[in-house]
């Protein structure tokens, strides 16, 4: 996965750089960059695994224009995020806010990890205190203790 990310990002950056070259000089590259940074945090609702920044869905194009317009008007990043969540809910945020309904989303994986490690530690700890004769002997040990029972090399 990680191997793919860099080439894809580079390819995207290249496409963007070219597009910018072709754009009229009046276009504001700073504004464009800000728009892309914000929309990369927002989920496109039409194709839900893409950000608004890289979706080709018509709605994503409209929303990119909307964000650009709001930036031109001088709105803050937070105002734009609020504008989006007021319409589409927290679902549009790739980083959902921490609140009552999302704590299991944020902490669930950590809790599972801690629980799993605790269970593992408990089992190992209990085993280490068992006497050796509670375990089946390893086949290697068996062979070493009873060499006569092994097959003679031919």
């Amino acid at each position: 996965m990680a191997r793919w990310i860099l080439p894809v990002l580079l390819a995207l950056a290249m496409g963007w750089a070219q597009a910018k070259e072709a754009a009229p000089a009046a276009e504001d590259p700073v504004l464009e960059a800000r728009m892309l940074r914000i929309t990369a945090e927002l989920r496109c609702l039409v194709c839900q695994n893409q950000t608004i920044a890289d979706s080709h869905a018509e709605l994503a194009v409209d929303l990119r224009n909307q964000v650009k317009e709001m930036l031109k008007r001088g709105d803050t990043d937070q105002a734009i995020i609020d504008y989006m969540t007021a319409r589409y809910g927290d679902f549009v945020l790739y980083r959902p806010p921490l609140k009552g309904t999302t704590w299991i989303l944020w902490f669930g994986p950590g809790l599972l990890l801690v629980g799993g490690l605790a269970a593992l530690w408990l089992v190992l700890h209990r085993r280490s205190r068992l006497s050796p004769d509670q375990f089946e002997p390893d086949p290697d040990d068996e062979a070493a203790n009873e060499p006569s029972s092994g097959k003679a090399p031919t």
């Binding site: 839900q48 709605l59 409209d62 909307q66 007021a86 809910g89």
Partner: protein, 176 residues
């Protein structure tokens, strides 16, 4: 107690199965709308059939109404169209259309060909009003109460079941 330890994996499995079962019945395309329980977003649009006549959300205050977002290019809208025609004929609630990102000729042609279930269709050529209403998948259907508050949203084509089990009871309750 320790005799029942062998049941732990079974319990974990059942828990997991319950979550997965629930997951099967959830539609990831149906994103809960934050607009439910909020005042309907403002709009002031021309009618699809008359560019001179405007309708705003203020004109619709005081009655329960239904907003159906549709477009001539939307295939799923064709699927729900006959059910909307039937529903409109029963005169349970006035249906207003929001003609989303369409052209006047195409929208009007669709209605004259397949029938017009709407009291009026609002013409939203650039999709601005659609964005304000959080529209992301046409068709979508909203129920708005007398105070102009959105009470329900249905994403995707309405079916006879949705109309009977969700929309009709909601309208009756609001008209109370």
């Amino acid at each position: 107690m320790s005799k029942l330890k062998f049941l732990i994996p079974l319990a974990i499995f059942l828990g997991l199965a319950a979550f997965l079962m629930r997951g099967l019945s959830l539609d990831p395309r149906e994103v809960p709308s934050p607009l439910i329980g909020k005042p309907a977003p403002a709009f002031d649009l021309t009618r699809l059939d008359d560019a001179q006549q405007r309708i705003s959300q203020k004109d619709l205050l005081g009655k329960v109404w239904m907003l159906n977002v549709w477009a001539s290019w939307c295939a799923a809208c064709r699927d729900e169209h006959p059910y909307l025609m039937e529903f409109a004929a029963r005169k349970i609630v006035p249906i207003y259309g929001l003609n989303y990102k369409d052209t006047r000729p195409a929208g009007q042609q669709t209605l004259s060909r397949f029938g017009d279930p709407y009291v009026a269709s609002l013409f939203d050529a650039d999709g601005r009003v659609g964005i304000d209403w959080g529209v992301y998948g046409v068709p979508e259907t909203f129920i708005i109460d007398r105070q102009g508050v959105i009470r329900m949203k249905h994403i995707g084509p309405v079916t006879p079941e949705v109309l009977r089990d969700k929309i009709e009871p909601m309208v009756r309750q609001l008209n109370g």
